[in-house]
Symmetry: C2
């Protein structure tokens, strides 16, 4: 992620910022709801004769019951098995045979399936998706086979990567009670225990038209899409009502947390601090937008405040940055990360980070940097939304997270409105020790092993103390 | 709890340890299962013409679904409302009119209801309990009224007590994924959101004969109890199968956790460290028994190793102790607590605690102390089990936590078998930083407020840094 953020920032510097239109996010879209409750969003994009077709379900990892973490992600994999009409694995093959590609993804708040394909095949992919909303057929063998796939996915992406493990534990310590504390892929022991019955119960409850959103972006008109949606999706009956989404909210922020993880595979010490923040959906006024601007100014790249202060000027860090992640339904996260310069003590690095944060809470960001940061953020959004896929995704994600289309469309205007006073207010509200976790990933063997070894060493020469 | 442990220990010193029978826990009991799956345990105790009657359900706070914390405890309260036969609040009044008393309690693993009453009224209380297993009738008004009661209970016991809040957050940081991390009373925001529908779903699923255990201790014979049980409990139909109990197990211990909580109401700094440990049910061999002996030797009172070393000899602590809690179904907890002596730095106190732990891991406990500790533990058990209520409770709790009667009956023999090698092995296995949380409760205003004030102070004299 660090690498990605840096290269994205570098790319942004090359953008012709001055040529931006006044309303950067002036996206034309149409939305309507079918009689079974399924919402449809159409985003015309006539640059090429292709479409991006997405089906979103309002169910993510944070909706899983206790003991069933990983079930939503597992179900996503299983949707590529068969239906009453189609054999296991056929779905993607059919899409491929027609020159398209397809995939799916699961987050804390949603599950989404998509195909990118020539426009004349939109009816085909709609027919395929309509089929698997209603007619999924799973055998015990399907479940057993795919369980090995997702276990391996977890091993590869998490267990084999100390930074991923560290991020997982840090996140689990950040949220005290809310299910965002659980990994989307699930805890391994839960995943191993998932059954056909578990996933089918989930499928029937959440994969129902009233809980789904279809997004079509591409070389189509709203009228064409409406006709097709009426034909393929409108006849689908609901198997359940649209479920309420109640997740345990965070209790009041009372105690600062810390974690310390030692892993011989880690190559250098790494510091991260996370704060529970409001999300765009839950924030009051411009709070989330202010956090977005603050994170970018504070730690969005090599010219940011944290980088300049800690890496360039004080030389206490080899690397430093910050980010705000505000698109989840219930909470956002404000993050700070740093790698200490060789020989710099951990306490020292944290003290210097805290000093910069105190300054921001006192004074905010200077006017020139504020203006530049807001322009860069808007440019970054334009750049990202130049892709048809990103365009479809941002609206699907917003709706599936119970946010609004208006929230997305007004984002750039809100960003432009952010003042230094907004930034100071948001920083003081969010950057509280009691709402944070600070963590160190250290490239040493576990403290335990050392303590054991030390204890065993002592055993020879010391007497029994008690 | 600290006070209680100390006075219990003091009381134990007065016990005539040498007069103990060879088999301390030689309890005579009978158990049988009714045809609907309800288990019955009879413990004759003819010292007085009274009985203790308990009904246990295998459902505790750790069985609650995501977002419904507090539901099991809430349901326990609601069982004192009416049934088809009895008006709200009548249950306890009837028991009282017959000279008895009654109450209930909820833990992580079970919910239990009990009455203590003259033996001739055993049929009455059985009839009453049989009625409320099957016929609970709740109105929205009952739920609304009782919700205020449990919210007030949480406010009084937790929100108003910084040590209780601290214990709650410490526990939430100890367990990474397992639901033992949640408070039994529930997170306030979940509790406020509980509905009649939530509790009735729970009631139907868990309050069913196959999921219940009846324990009768007192002036009765197994034959009498069997007849009554056949009459009152055997006819009850099951509304559900006995539910499986799957709770997310803890992922591997990878990262030491810390919390720091500041509360102006706290009167002195307090340190606690908790380790995830096996429970009696999950431990291998003598591991849990060894932890019990270790905790008692290390921190069971003013003559314990920790107290002697830290308080008496080194004078770094005003108070210090340790305990092992091993009766829960899935995990135990090994805890250490200390209050620093005035002027002693926090780091210093922790270093000295760690030094004692390292010695224990290296050398265990000396032979004389080991013998004395094991005798004291057994004496303590005898002392506790002299009460009819405690006797009924220990077997009910064991069975409702999916443990066995044999485990309880053999406890004293196992304790007697614990060797110093067992203690060293258990200590090395359990006392690992990566499986622990360390916490400080500090009597200062929140760090945040101070940081804010400091930042605002600086605002006047400092220039904008970025």
């Amino acid at each position: 992620m660090l690498t990605l953020m840096r290269s994205l920032f570098a790319a942004l510097l090359l953008l012709p910022v001055l040529l931006l239109p006044a309303r950067a996010l002036d996206v034309k879209l149409t939305t309507f709801t079918l009689k079974n409750g399924m919402q449809v969003v159409v985003i015309p994009d006539h640059r090429a004769p292709v479409v991006t077709h997405m089906v979103w379900y309002r169910v993510g990892a944070a909706d899983e019951p206790m003991g069933k973490t990983g079930a939503v992600h597992f179900l996503e994999h299983l949707l590529f098995k068969g239906t009453k009409k189609i054999r296991p694995g056929e779905f993607s093959k059919i899409v491929k045979r027609h020159g398209g590609n397809d995939n799916a993804f699961t987050s804390r708040d949603y599950t989404a399936y998509f195909q990118r394909i020539a426009k004349q095949h939109l009816p085909l992919v709609m027919e395929l998706e309509a089929d698997r909303i209603a007619n999924l057929q799973l055998s015990d063998k399907d479940v057993k086979t795919e369980l090995e796939v997702i276990k391996e996915e977890r091993r590869q992406r998490t267990e084999n990567d100390p930074r991923a493990l560290f991020a997982e534990r840090l996140n689990a310590a950040l949220f005290v009670a809310h299910p965002y504390r659980r990994p989307v892929v699930g805890w391994m022991a839960d995943v191993e225990n998932l059954t056909l019955d578990d996933v089918m119960r989930f499928y029937r409850r959440y994969y129902t038209p009233a809980n789904a959103i279809v997004v079509v972006a591409g070389d189509v008109t709203p009228e064409e899409v409406r006709k097709l949606a009426e034909r393929y999706y409108a006849p689908l009956p609901n198997t359940a009502q649209r479920p309420l989404r109640w997740r345990t909210p965070e209790p009041p922020a009372l105690a600062a947390r810390r974690i310390e993880m030692r892993d011989a595979r880690a190559r250098q010490p790494m510091f991260q601090r996370l704060y529970v923040a409001p999300s765009y959906r839950t924030a009051k006024g411009l709070q989330a937008h202010a956090l977005e601007v603050l994170a970018e100014a504070l730690g969005g790249g090599a010219t940011s405040v944290l980088y300049r202060r800690l890496v360039v000027e004080e030389k206490v860090a080899a690397f430093a940055g910050a980010y705000y992640s505000g698109n989840d339904r219930d909470y956002g996260t404000f993050g700070i990360y740093a790698v200490p310069a060789p020989g710099v003590k951990r306490e020292k690095l944290e003290q210097r980070i805290d000093a910069v944060l105190r300054e921001v809470m006192a004074n905010g960001i200077d006017a020139k940097r504020l203006k530049r940061t807001k322009e860069a953020l808007t440019a970054s959004a334009i750049y990202a939304l130049d892709s048809q896929f990103a365009l479809a995704r941002i609206f699907g994600a917003a709706l599936a997270s119970d946010s609004t289309i208006e929230g997305v469309l007004q984002w750039d205007e809100r960003i432009a409105e952010v003042s230094n006073a907004d930034i100071i207010a948001a920083a003081r509200k969010v950057l509280k020790p009691a709402g944070s976790v600070s963590g160190w990933l250290l490239p040493a063997p576990p403290a335990l092993a050392r303590a054991d070894a030390a204890a065993q060493g002592r055993q020879k020469q010391e007497k029994v103390a008690p």
